[in-house]
Symmetry: C2
Subunit: 374 residues, 2 copies
């Protein structure tokens, strides 16, 4: 199965590190002593508080078993199911989970093109759909692509406000990233969704969270994550099971403690790529990102697949996110063409940023890209 | 929040026990060594195989992060979203997760009454809805209430076959239970859903599984649990994130090893209640159940709430599942009356069955029920 490949590379794209066994042994004994294994036990509450402290800006955090479950919950909480509008605006240059969640919940993804600088959904393209074509939408799900904060996030907030729909921001890879004004991701739009999958900068195996400045929404989301139950055990809200168990929360607390130091190291790797690799476009604002990996756009004429192959031959893993873009899959085919998406998906390449990336690896990447430039 | 109460009872309804810390320390070190934290790693594969071995009957198991996520996946796989029919048949005497999942995925729960002997959805009541009222349905979700195998499961299979819709069986509390013919739960209908929540007989904190005799369906479900991705990383199926992480799978393997001995003890407690408590109806076929707790129906005229209160005063926890029944909640109100459900929900009481239930506890329960019989 895809998603987490066998590590046959000496420099894989992702190399997660996890807490020491002796630390987790102590946490496990504490869990046994508490008799609480899930349902908002002491580790979940502490992890939630630590997420809030880390992001600041008075956000409330709601933990989830995965970012996708978090996204489903956010849609149940924020997207009007009684509305006649069934379309939800979403980029096609994204992981399939967003469009799939929209479809699973009975809505229709309405794909919007990206802009070529940040690689995020383009608010101008959205305005054309909403104003020129007068498409009615029930909500908006955009991504902070590759965990990098979109430079035009205010334009999206304005657009969502103008059309009175929720703006759900998929910041899956972005815990620890900042917007261009220096504020941490997590406090924009109606809410932001984060992933703590093993491949993410803040890795706990499987897990996720919703962060929002709206404490009432956070409380609703917490209930939705536990079957919509009120304190009396009666379900009065829509619901699912999105609860993060205590073991996962314990890992999260320990991983969060090491996150900032890890990001400093990753940013140094990013700087090294910027210095060494010529004639490519780095993603705008990536220098403020958590940088689970480094993504760049090769020049027209560079053979991207050959670069990936050359690096694989040197045991360095590079990947092609997100190719093919979601709107070209059989699941969702049939929408309008997305020219920027279709250009970028053939040129973007994602490179490792972890501590295994030595100066020699950076040099090998630069050489491989240079060699395949026509 | 409801769902897992603070244990202020000396005999709580549920008293989960978990693997020893030294065992889990070894497993955690193995996970660190493998570098695999989720996405069908070695512990998940071993747990899946152990589930299949335990149930036999050539079933295939697909693990999930929760039973509710498993149910969502089963609905994505088996319930025709292109059909004009939007109703899904489901009992109201059930945990809200089933009806909520149906609603979340854009369908409408069509509530069916239960029968008073097994407390399961009644196939005769369903036949009236389908044949007399000619209601069109997209699928059927029934429950093996309290984990006890329904004695009329064949009638449900016949009905689903006649109307050519999937029969998804919510066996959440039933891992380790058997049908009346002695075969283990897990091999009936289109598929069966199991929960491994901390409160269930096979407790891993949060987790679940789908079991099915159809290996192609199992493979589809496994892909759906990982965003519908094919081996090439392209999503060609609907999808969500339902993956069970390696830590949870490791706990599951150890818990499964102790399950049968635990069930033997629980069945002895059930026998003791049967001997001691007069003038009540025990659930049919409960003697073949995993018996996470023991449920019985008090006689008309017994004050159920007073019994619960009297037991609480003696620090023994009893609960009122499922009251109020789901069709009377504001979420779903407006359907037809369900006379059997509305009678049973006022009389059913669930009692602890774990190793803390001494003969004195059984005696106290019998006395409390007898004292409140009018």
């Amino acid at each position: 199965m895809a998603g987490e490949r066998l590590m046959t590379y000496s420099v894989p794209l992702i190399a997660p590190s996890f807490p020491a066994a002796e630390d987790m042994d102590g946490d496990y004994r504490d869990i046994l002593d508490s008799g609480r294994f899930s349902n908002f036990g002491p580790f979940e509450r502490a992890f939630r508080a630590a997420l809030e402290d880390h992001v600041g800006q008075s956000v409330s955090a709601v933990t989830f078993s995965s970012a996708t479950t978090a996204l489903q919950a956010a849609m149940l909480a924020c997207v009007d199911r009684g509305s006649a509008a069934r379309d939800v605006l979403v980029p096609a240059f994204t992981f399939p989970a967003g469009p799939q969640s929209i479809a699973a919940l009975g809505f229709t993804p309405r794909f919007v093109d990206i802009e070529p600088v940040g690689l995020h959904a383009d608010p101008d393209a959205a305005a054309r759909i909403l104003k020129r074509d007068q498409v009615s939408i029930a909500g908006i799900v955009i991504g902070n692509s590759f965990g990098t904060g979109a430079h035009h996030i205010s334009a999206w907030e304005d657009l969502a406000g103008e059309f009175d729909v929720a703006l759900i921001i998929d910041s899956a890879a972005g815990f620890g990233s900042a917007y261009e004004d220096g504020t941490a991701l997590g406090a924009r739009g109606t809410c932001e969704i984060f992933s703590f999958h093993a491949t993410k900068p803040l890795a706990i195996g499987e897990g996720g969270a919703v962060l929002t400045r709206d404490p009432d929404l956070a409380e609703r989301l917490r209930r939705i994550s536990n079957f919509g139950l009120d304190d009396d055990g009666v379900a009065r809200l829509p619901g699912l099971n999105g609860k993060l168990n205590e073991f996962a929360a314990a890992i999260g607390i320990r991983q969060l403690a090491g996150l900032e130091a890890d990001i400093v190291r990753r940013r140094a790797v990013h700087d090294a790529y910027r210095t060494a690799v010529a004639d490519v476009d780095f993603q705008r604002n990536a220098e403020r990102s958590a940088l689970g990996f480094v993504s760049l756009v090769l020049s027209h004429g560079t053979d991207r697949d050959a670069v990936v192959g050359d690096l694989a031959a040197r045991a360095i893993e590079a990947r092609r996110y997100y190719a093919p873009a979601v709107h070209r899959s059989d699941l969702f085919a049939g929408g309008a063409p997305l020219p920027v998406t279709e250009d970028i998906e053939g040129r973007v390449i994602s490179l490792p940023s972890h501590r295994g990336v030595t100066p020699a690896v950076v040099e090998a990447v630069a050489e491989a890209i240079s060699a395949r430039r026509s």
